[in-house]
Subunit: 360 residues, 4 copies
C-alpha cells in the first residue's frame, strides 16, 4: 500500500531539521521517505548509526535501516526535502532542481531568488505560479520552492490578517528564540543557562526582508513585495522549542482607521480576523494543515512557548495580548514552533500544496 | 567606631529586596543596620530565623542576631529603607515619614506623588529640592524618597545621555526580566522552566510613565515630565538576575539630525556620550557610586545577563548593539541588575546622596 | 454512548495531580469524569475558572464546564480518584470509603495501612485480595486502594524483575527528581534554577519503606513485606517531569550467583528479564497498560528525563546502564514519569484493574 | 614590584580551565602570568582576541595584551600551569618537565604515574617527596605535579576526615555535575535543558581510582593506595558550576565502632572532624588556602550548588546532611566548585605548596 506513495528524499537528514523531517514524514499519507542524504562523513552508514537522534519519539524503524547516501548522489525520488546547512544548500539544491527534481527547501539560500516562491500556503499559495518561469530558466521540470526563516513564519502568519484587512505600514518586533533554532550543537549550555543572548547572526536581516516577499504579489513575472517597513531585534533565550515575539504595528491608513473605528472595534475586528483566518491548506484539507492556522488566546499571559508551541501539532501560530500601542496602532505577542511550522512542517505543507496543485 | 555611623532600619527585611538591603549594608562606611522590621509573622524572632536567607553570601553576623521588629513599631533609626510589599508600603511609609523619618523606598506606592522625588542620582539629583515642599506638607523633618521600578532604572539610565544630547520623542522597549524581580516565591519553577511568560502585572504601565518623571524637571513646586512617549512590552524569562531590554528610539528633531549628521556620526556621538556619562554620585564620590554608571560593550552579542549584570558591583547599566533603526533613529540593548541597581542598591545610593546633601 | 461509562469523581481536581487526572481521563473508554471536587475556595466555580490549568493540552471542554464541588459533598460517583494534599486526604478518603465508594488514591496517608493495597498492577495485582478484609472493617462495599510515591513506583518497577529472579538483599538509590513532583507552586524558580536541592521532605522514608510492601505478599490476612534493605538519597533538580535514579543492588544469594554465573551472564539475564517483564495489565489488556511496562535502553547515556519520560504514554519505566557494581552486584539507571506512571496514570491503571476484577 | 614575582605560563590558556587560571592568577601575590600558550590556531594572536572569554569578570588587562604562544615553544617561565586537553597534555607536559620546568597540571594524563604526585595539599602534602625520584628519572630539575579530577577533589576532601579518624572500607557515591565541567562547548544546551544525562565518559573510573592514591601514602619510593572500594555513578545536570554528590560510606571497623559509640556520637565526632579539618595550606598560610577547607552546613537542605559553591572563594568543600545510613555507616552530601577547587584553583594551591617547600 505504501508503494503507491510518492518516494521522497531528505537532504541533510542527520541534522536537527533533517530529524524533524524524518519524524514528521513517518506515516505520512502521501509521501514515503525512501532516501536519506547527508555529508560524506555519514554516507554509507545506516541512518540509525549516522544520526545522533535527539527527538522525543523513537527513530522510525524503516528509516533507521536506510543507508545514508552522499550529497550529490543520483536519487530515485523526484520530490526532495532539503534541511541542508546554508554552506552547502545553495549549490546542492540547484543541482537537484536542474536534474528535474522538485526541491522543497528549508534553507535560506534561494529564498529571495527572483523566481523562487517563498511559500506559506495559507498566505501566498498563488506564488507557485512562479514555478513555471523557474522551470523555463532551468530548462526542465525541476524547481525549488522555499519556506521562510523560523521566526519569519510566525511573524508573517501573525501579520497576514492585518495586512489583508487594513494593510500594514510599520512594524517593531523583538523575538525571544528557542535554542533548537540553532541546531543541536548550536548553543552551548554554558552560553545560555541563566542567560539571554541579544544577538543571532543574520536573523534580523531575514525578518526585516522575508515577510514583504511573502505578503507581496507574484505579478506578471516578478514578485512585488508588500510595502511595510520592519525593525527587528532578536534574542536567544533558554527555551527548547518555540519562538516568541512581541509585535507593535501601524496600519497604512492608521489615522483614518482610528477616526472611523474605536480601538475596541479595531481589536475586536482583528481578533475575529485571527480566529477566521484560513487559506488553501484548510480548503484543500492538506494532511499537515492545522484546523486553525492562527489561534487567539484570551488569557492575559499567553501564548507561552512550553504550553502553546504544540497547538495544531506544532502547525498553529498562537497570538495573544492584542491591545492598543501608545505609539503605533496595535500590539500583540505571537508564538511559532520553530522546528515544525518554522522549518520541517512548513516544508512538508509546501510539498502537499504542490502535490494538490499537480506540480509533482 | 561603627558607633559614629548613622543607624538605619530596613522595612520588609525578610523579603527578597530586604535581604539585598541587608547584604549591601554590611560594612557600609556611613550606615549601620540597627533595626530590621517585618510583618507580624516574623516579629520577635531573630533575623537569622525569620529570614529564609537566599543570597550567595552568608547572613552578616550582627544582623543575624537582631530581633525582628513589628511593622509600625517606634524605631531608633531616623533613616529608613523600605523594601515593603506594595500592599502595605503606602501607609507604613507615610507613617514613618510623618513621624519625622527619612524614608528611602523601593516600593511603587509613592513614586508618582506630587512632591516625592523618583530619584536616580546620576540623572535627577536636583529633584531632591521637592523634599522641602513635602516636609511642609507633612509638617516636620520627615519625607519619602523613592527609586524607580527595576526595569525603569535600566531604561531611564540608558536613555539619559540621548535625552540630554538631542531629546527623545518616541520609544519602543521590550524587556526580558529575571525571576528575582518577582521575589523569591514569585515565579514557580513549573511556570518558567523552558518557557517565557509574556506578561508581568502592572509592569508596562510603570515603564511607560516613570521615565518621564525621572528625566523631567522639578520646576517651581511641581514636576514637569519629559515629553517622550513609550510603548513597553514586558516578559519574564528564566534568568536569575538581570533585566535585559531591546530599545528603539526616535529623537525629537530626528529629521534635522539625520540631515546634519551621518548615522555613523550619530552613533559615535552616542557611544561617546554613554562612555562619558556621569552625575552627582561620581562627582561626590558616593560610596555606592560605580565609576561608570553606564558602560558600552562593543562585542556584537553583549550585554548578557549572566556575564554583565555584576559590572560595577551591580550598579553599572550595560549597553550594547547601538545601531540604526529602520523605523526610528537608533536601536540598542540595555541590561540592569534588577535587585541591585534596580532596587536595594538604588535606594542606598539615594540615601548616600541625601546624606551628602545634608538632608539626613 | 458515554452514558454507559462509569461516572467518576476526582478529589483535589484543581491541583497538579488533579489536572493530570482530568487530562488522562479525557476520552477514557471505561470512565467518565462526572464530578470534580476541591477545597472550599474553589467550590461553586466552573472548573475552567477554578483550575489554574498548566498542562500542554487544553482543558477538556466538558470538564471545563463542571461546577467544582466542596470536599465532603455527597457524590453521584462511586469510583473516586484522590489527588488530595496529604493534609486533608486521610480523613476525606476514609469518609468516602465508609460511605461505600471505591477510593483510588495517590495520597500517602493510607499507603501503609494494614488492609490497604499499595498497588502496582504489574507487580502485585493479587494484593487486591486485601480489599475483602478492608470492606469488613468498614462494614460496606467501600474501600481505599493506593498507588506508591512517584519515585517509589519507578524504583519498585525497576526492581521487580530482579526480585522475581534472584531476590534482592540490599539497595542504594539516589534520585534526581523533577519539579512537578512538588506541585505547581512547590518549587520556586529562584530556588532551583542553576541549582540542585539535596533534600525532599519525607521522600527518603517513603522510598525506604514502600517498595518492601509492594514487592511483598498478601498472606492470609496480612501483608508480608519483602526483606531487602534500602538506603535512599533524594534530590530536586531543574527538570520539569521525570524522576531519574541511580541504583546499586545486591542479590540475596549474591555470592552463589557470582560463583554460578559470569557477570556477563547475570547482566544478559537481567536485560532479558526487563524486556520480558509484564503483568496483569498486559494480560488483561487494560486501557492504560503500556505494551512494555519496562524498557531497556542500550545507549550508553540513557534514559534521560526529557527524551524518555513519555515512553508508553508516560506509563513505561525506562532502564539503562545495567553494569556490574564494584561493591554490590549490579548498577543501573531508571526513569519514571512522576505525574503519569508515578501519580495519576498509576491510579487510573489501578482503577482499571479493579474494574476488570469485578471490584467496582 | 611585580618584577620580583615568579613568571608563570599557562598551557591551554584559551580553554575553560585556562580562562580560570588567567582569572585566578590576576593579582596573585607570588606569581605573575607572563606567557599564555595554546594550539596553533590561536598562536600569534593577542590573548584578548584568541580567547572567547566567558567569565563574569573582565579579561585582566595585561593578559589581554599577551601574544599567544604555540604549544611546544621555548618559554621564559619555569613554572607552568597546564589546562590542556588530554589529547595533547600527556606529551606536552612531559616535554616541558624534561626541559626542566615545574609543570603543575590539571590534566588527567599523568595523574596515576608511579612518581607523579596527585596532590590535594590539605591531605597529602607529603606526596611531594615523590618529586625527587621523578627528577632522577627525567635527569634534571623538571617534574610534573597533578591535581585530581574535579569530582574527585570534592570526594577526597569530604572523605579525608573519616579516613583519618576511622578508616573507610566501602563507598557509594552518585554525582550531579555542572556543565562547566565539560568545557564551554562540552554540553549542548539542547542536550541538557530540562534534562539530566546519566553518563560522563571516563568519569566513574577516575572517581573509583584517584581517591585511593590521594588518601594513600608515599612510602619508600612508591605510592601505597588507601584500601577502600568505591562504586561511583555520575550524572550531568543543568547547573553552571558546582559538582554535588551523595555519599554513603562504611568504616573499616564499622561493627566495632557501632558497638563502642552511638550513632549520635559518631555523627557528632564526624562533624567536629569536618569543622576542624585543616592541613599544610592552612598552617603555611598559602595565598589561595581557604580558612576552612571543609565547612559543615547544618541546614537540612544544604549544600546547594548555586548558594554554596563560592564559599572560601570557591576553595571550600561544603558538606551537609550527615546522618546514619541504613546499609553502611554514614551518609552525607558534598559540594565542590569544579572549576576552582576542582581545577585551576587546585593547581594554583599546588604550586603555592611547591613554592613554600622550596621546590620551585
Amino acid at each position: 500500500m505504501s508503494m503507491s506513495k510518492i518516494p521522497v528524499a531528505v537532504l541533510g537528514a542527520t541534522g536537527s531539521v533533517g530529524q524533524r523531517f524524518v519524524q514528521l514524514l513517518e506515516g505520512h499519507p502521501w509521501f514515503r521517505l525512501a532516501e536519506v542524504v547527508a555529508s560524506e562523513r555519514s554516507a554509507g552508514k545506516p541512518y540509525r548509526t549516522a544520526a545522533d537522534w535527539r527527538l522525543e519519539t523513537p527513530i522510525p524503524n524503516e528509516t533507521g535501516d536506510l543507508k545514508v547516501m552522499d550529497l550529490g548522489a543520483e536519487l530515485e525520488s523526484t520530490l526532495i526535502f532539503s534541511g541542508l546547512d546554508s554552506s552547502v544548500a545553495g549549490e546542492a539544491e540547484d543541482t537537484y532542481a536542474n536534474r528535474g527534481c522538485a526541491v522543497v527547501s528549508n534553507s535560506k539560500n534561494h529564498r529571495m531568488d527572483d523566481d523562487v516562491p517563498l511559500l506559506i500556503p495559507e498566505i501566498n499559495a498563488d506564488h507557485i505560479d512562479a514555478i513555471e518561469q523557474q522551470r523555463k530558466r532551468r530548462g526542465g521540470k525541476g524547481y525549488i520552492v522555499t519556506n521562510p526563516n523560523c521566526s519569519t513564519v510566525g511573524l508573517a502568519m501573525a501579520l497576514a490578517p492585518f495586512e489583508r484587512q487594513h494593510g500594514i505600514d510599520t512594524l517593531h518586533v523583538t523575538t525571544m528564540q528557542a535554542i533548537s533554532g540553532a541546531g543541536y550543537a548550536g548553543v552551548a549550555s554554558y552560553a545560555i543557562l541563566d542567560n539571554v543572548i541579544p544577538y543571532i547572526s543574520g536573523e534580523e536581516e531575514k525578518i526585516e526582508s522575508e515577510p514583504q516577499k511573502i505578503l507581496g504579489r507574484w505579478d506578471n513575472g516578478h514578485f512585488v513585495p508588500a510595502e511595510f517597513r520592519t525593525s527587528a531585534q532578536t534574542n536567544r533565550v533558554p527555551t527548547i522549542d518555540g519562538h516568541l515575539m512581541t509585535i507593535s504595528l501601524g496600519f497604512r491608513n492608521g489615522k483614518d482607521l482610528r477616526r472611523t473605528f474605536t480601538l475596541d472595534q479595531l481589536i475586536a475586528d482583528a481578533r475575529s480576523a485571527i480566529d477566521n483566518f484560513e487559506g488553501e491548506p484548510q480548503r484543500l484539507k492538506l494532511p499537515s494543515a492545522p484546523e486553525h492556522p492562527l489561534q487567539y488566546l484570551k488569557e492575559l499571559d499567553r501564548p507561552q512557548p512550553r504550553l502553546d508551541r504544540d497547538r495544531g501539532h506544532g502547525m498553529t501560530v498562537s497570538i495573544g495580548r492584542l491591545r492598543p500601542c501608545p505609539l503605533l496602532d496595535l500590539r500583540m505577542v505571537a508564538l511559532v514552533h520553530n522546528t515544525i511550522r518554522g522549518a520541517a512542517g512548513a516544508a512538508i505543507l509546501n510539498a502537499e500544496l504542490l502535490k494538490a496543485k499537480g506540480l509533482l
